[in-house]
């Protein structure tokens, strides 16, 4: 249901009444409909599913979250389990 790949917008144009773009994926270029991501600009990365951009990749958010991941072992901020809640959860959830 969900094969969508990020690609870079190279150019935009109008075809019929639809806003279209040439989008680059690795080394190939494909035509993509931009109607659902009106804010996309040339140079942006968009997420493409069956020839439609369905979202814009936010480069700042990507950078921020990736950094956090890489620093994970230095963070040491994990929630320590609270036994009361775990007991409740186990009573409800574990097994049929």
């Amino acid at each position: 249901m969900c094969l969508a790949i990020p690609g870079k917008v190279l150019s935009e144009y109008v075809q019929g009444s639809m806003r279209m773009a040439k989008v680059k994926f690795g080394g190939i270029v494909r035509e993509v409909c931009l109607e659902y991501v009106p804010e996309a600009q040339v140079g942006d990365f968009v997420l493409v599913h069956v020839g439609f951009a369905i979202s814009r990749v936010d480069p700042e958010e990507a950078e921020r979250t990736y950094q956090l991941l890489q620093e994970m072992d230095q963070l040491g901020e994990l929630d320590e389990p609270e036994f009361g809640e775990i007991a409740t959860h186990a009573a409800k959830g574990g097994g049929s």
């Binding site: 249901m1 409909c33 069956v50 020839g51």
Partner: protein, 378 residues
């Protein structure tokens, strides 16, 4: 490739796996909802990296597998008609109906074409004004905007020879059906990242609250799935049950409004039958009456369908994560119990062939495959 390669970094993956090992204190059953996530797990061998106590169960997130048999039979009946050019995504070509599949129909003379985008059908319709172009419009909410645009554009252009056979399904009602089952084992979910790129994730908040299950909306690359799993396990270990967004580089709570608007103009929510599960209310889309001219079920009069649903099918239980494929009577000798694919992998790469060959791998147990993946080997 940017935004793909960095999410396949083995060093980062190992960090996440180590963290999982560190925090996990008891077994957990987590379901990844989307077929694309299942595919990624198999393709990258992710489940062999996880700690033994974290079990990934594969969900109903493959529109191919949940399309009911009578809908497939209708598709085949339409495809057989000489005046029809039947267009479909590649996924559906090999799915058998009561008698044939689209490949065999093609071998018998049917004009069956694979398309990458629903918009391709517009061009085919314009190039063949004497033919009826019918598009098999399957998919979850990720694909609905594309399918809606096909109908919208056909309508705007006044095309008279295009229609769609609608088999859209929605995720939230499916999750509820899973959670309502008395045999449910699933304790947390990796939510469908691309569905939520379109729809946002507000629909999952009441589900998480009502059933007290963590739902972490996750992407598809290995790091996304591993991080999503880590976030679910963290919640489970601390007794939280919230909706979190692992895939924040691509989606937010509201989702894609322009896409939602076009979908709402063209489709309305309806009941849908899920193969092996039955009818789930409000779990699908149908075309609004203004677009009846584009509804293949109304355009084509199909009464001579003879759908043979087998009686011993346990697919519903597989789809809901209650049983594994090895429990399926026909697969008892074929599927690897340590590595169940669920009913999700009818894909053109022959992943469905993997169904058959996993029987060969019954002797290859998880311990040894884990050793191979973490230690020796080329």
């Amino acid at each position: 490739m940017k935004y793909i390669d960095e999410y396949r970094d083995p060093v980062l993956a190992q960090k996440i796996v180590e963290e999982l090992h560190r925090i996990q204190t008891r077994p957990w059953v987590i379901m990844e909802v989307c077929g694309g996530q299942t595919h990624s797990i198999v393709k990258h061998g992710i489940d062999y990296l996880l700690p033994k106590g974290v079990e990934l169960v594969h969900g109903p997130g493959c529109p191919v597998c949940v399309t009911p048999l009578d809908m497939i039979d209708k598709a085949h009946a339409i495809a057989r008609r000489p005046e029809v050019i039947f267009c479909s995504f590649g996924d559906m070509l090999r799915v058998p109906g009561s008698q044939d599949d689209l490949f065999t129909i093609r071998s018998q003379g049917g004009d069956v074409r694979v398309v990458y985008s629903p918009l391709d059908c517009l061009k085919i319709a314009r190039d063949h004004p004497d033919k009826q172009v019918v598009f098999f419009a399957i998919g979850f909410e990720t694909t609905t905007p594309a399918n809606a645009m096909l109908v919208w554009q056909a309508h705007e252009a006044g095309l008279k020879n295009v229609s769609i056979l609608t088999s859209h399904v929605l995720v939230p009602p499916a999750l509820e059906a899973i959670l309502q089952s008395p045999h449910n084992r699933v304790q947390g979910f990796l939510g469908p990242g691309h569905v939520c790129a379109v729809m946002g994730y507000s629909q999952y908040e009441p589900i998480s609250a009502r059933y007290r299950v963590p739902i972490v909306i996750s992407g598809f690359e290995p790091i996304d799935i591993l991080q999503g799993t880590l976030m679910v396990v963290r919640q489970l270990e601390s007794g939280r049950a919230e909706v979190e967004n692992q895939y924040s580089r691509v989606l937010n709570r509201e989702g894609n409004r322009p896409a939602q608007d076009v979908v709402a103009n063209v489709f309305e929510v309806s009941d849908r039958t899920w193969r092996g599960v039955g009818t789930i209310p409000g779990s699908g889309y149908r075309l609004r009456s203004e677009f009846a001219a584009y509804d293949a079920e109304r355009v084509f009069d199909i009464h001579d369908i003879n759908t043979l649903e087998p009686s011993n099918c346990i697919s519903g239980e597989i789809l809901r994560g209650i049983k594994k494929p090895h429990d399926c009577p026909a697969f008892a000798t074929e599927c690897n119990p340590q590595h169940p694919l669920g009913a999700t992998m009818v894909s053109a790469e022959g992943a469905c062939a993997a169904y058959y060959t996993y029987g060969r791998h019954l002797s290859m147990d998880r311990e040894r495959l884990v050793t191979i993946s973490t230690g020796g080997g080329a």
